[in-house]
Symmetry: C2
Subunit: 346 residues, 2 copies
DNA sequence: CTGAAAGCGCTTACAG
DNA sequence: CTGAAAGCGCTTACAG
């Protein structure tokens, strides 16, 4: 029904091959012929059939975007929309489309990736997460299929191209920031340790303590799952310690606010009694009370650069493995307070 | 290179047609043959080529998802990730994939939609917005291409299937809610009036005033663009009116918080002096101070139902045009206060 | 229940 | 600079 390359060829008195070459803007066709063929294409309302072209050319001009299962962090604001925006910008500039994974569970996602790869649905894949022991990542690596990750791979770091923040360093800086405000008792509320980002941030926290001569205590570390299931109690226990923290680093702005609310229940003031700093710099964090000091992690760039790297890989299968860190920045607002170190010690 | 249907056929001693029918699980093939062919497929690691299958079958098994340009509301949390989640659930259940638009400007988006339709990239399209005078919507309708919208179309309402909230009604209810708390001076901060959702909410506000015997005043209506560019001043003017409002309805939780911040600058307490209610029930709104009363609009359902409707349309081109409203609910928190109507009037 | 053949709408060596 | 031909990997009437 639709007008095909054959119709155009007939109408323009050339062969289908020629029409095909005009579409591709091949230099081997004379300007005159091109002009004539293009005129006919417009006249007939011709559009190349995507599937047919891809089948013949053995390409798809689309990249697959995979996020971790929907129950996890990835679906929270604002990471997801922003990273997608970055991907869109880069993909659009190179005339690539985006095919989106729809799977729910880890297993479904894995199966979907396999079918994307084997079924030749996409030219390359972006993994929007990095999880410990991830089968999908391993598969992609073993298949030698073009892919990049947003997040440092937990393994094979030298064989996989990825974009990330320097999570260890920035968390280190966050702790130092609090230290410089006079804090010595600094608690940490981590993310899901199945994800490398959470591990790196925890490492940064621990190393900073060490470097600053503060000792690490299990009591000062709350895992994200206990915040989720039993946050109120965990925060109460934290504040009932003999030496309750004067500052808290939270893995995400959302959990920071959750904690602030529990603190309120205990009549603990932020930042009066306890300073708190979050990660990810949510849109709301500027407006909320107290405006939250938070680490901006350049989410759009994360998506943008991951896509650029993938596109390089697709276009040149010999392209070197590359890693980038995208900038992070502590956005100071009003949830952290300078204290004079007059308490117990010293 | 990859193993094809031919390889499987040869190995299983059947024709390619038979293999194809086994893939489709056609009832016309004996169980015995199916078993044998499937065994060979596993053994050889066969996966059907997506493009080839689609080209031959004249289908794509994928739906296109289009959002409004990235500068607008759609990219704000939490609408975007949640609506996508809804779409994914439904698409995945029906084994459809998702092709995502990457365009930046309105024109780019339009071109992309045309190429999706004409290039046979997708079987149907979901428009994640409804804009006044939208060329893309008109095009889809005129082409008679299967599509649905999240949001009431500004035109051709009887010819287009869509899912929406009953925005007029819920805004009406919101005003009544405030009225029942004793408020008589209720201001409204609207969204971008290029979008139908904003128009409907404004209408609901105005009709509620009318029904409740309150008069509508231009002074009580702030357009979203002035909030964006000159919000502080607009809020100041609002509060310096002879009869400043005692309650404010904000088109979105984000703008509600922005307003609250400006109010603070004027030492106006929320909800002490002014009550405020938002829309969209952001994830943070529960945690923030004051916890914001907000209208939950069931975003996931919006995506889910729009996809279901589209799938019906795709599978049956004669399917009737349908509309659904997805439930809305006022989530009461702490930003609205009952007042005793003792001020000036009466 | 199964197969031979045509066809989906392109691209790309190969030849001139 | 252009064309004829083969092929990409499937599906689907048609025939038996």
């Amino acid at each position: 029904m639709a007008v095909t390359i054959i119709d155009v060829a007939r109408e323009a008195n050339v062969s289908p091959s020629t029409v095909s070459r005009v579409i591709a803007d091949s230099p081997r066709i004379s300007e005159q012929t091109k002009r004539r063929v293009r005129e006919v294409m417009n006249q007939l309302g011709y559009y190349p059939n995507f599937q047919a072209r891809n089948l013949a050319a053995k390409t798809t001009q689309t990249i697959g975007v995979i996020m971790s299962d929907s129950t996890s962090l990835a679906f929270q604001n604002p990471f997801f929309p922003e990273v997608i925006r970055g991907i869109c910008v880069s993909a659009h500039a190179s005339k690539y489309g985006i095919y989106f994974s729809t799977g729910g569970t880890e297993e479904e996602i894995f199966q979907e990736v396999v079918s994307m790869v084997q079924g030749k649905k996409v030219d390359g894949i972006i993994l929007l997460y990095s999880r410990v022991g991830d089968r999908t990542m391993k598969y992609l690596k073993d298949e030698n299929f073009p892919f990049t990750m947003v997040g440092r791979p937990y393994q094979y770091e030298d064989e996989i191209s990825y974009i990330d923040n320097d999570n260890e360093r920035i968390t280190h800086e966050v702790v130092e920031y609090l230290y410089n405000l006079g804090h010595r008792k600094i608690a940490f509320i981590g993310g899901n340790l199945d994800f490398v980002v959470s591990i790196d941030r925890l490492n940064g926290y621990q190393k900073a303590l060490e470097k600053l001569g503060l000792s690490y205590s299990e009591d000062y570390f709350i895992r994200n799952d206990v915040i989720k299931t039993n946050g109120m109690k965990a925060v109460h226990q934290l504040m009932e310690l003999n030496e309750p923290p004067t500052a808290i680093v939270a893995h995400d702005d959302l959990v920071a606010y959750e904690v602030i609310r529990y603190l309120e229940g205990l009549s603990v003031q932020v930042p009066g009694d306890v300073s708190i700093i979050g990660f990810n710099n949510h849109a709301l964090s500027a407006y909320v009370k107290p405006p939250l000091t938070s680490v901006d992690i350049s989410i759009v760039e994360l998506g943008l650069e991951a896509t650029n790297l993938l596109l390089e890989k697709i276009q040149d299968s010999e392209a070197a493995v590359e890693h980038y860190f995208v900038p992070t920045k502590i956005i100071e607002r009003e949830s952290c307070k300078r204290i004079t170190t007059k308490k117990k010690r010293e």
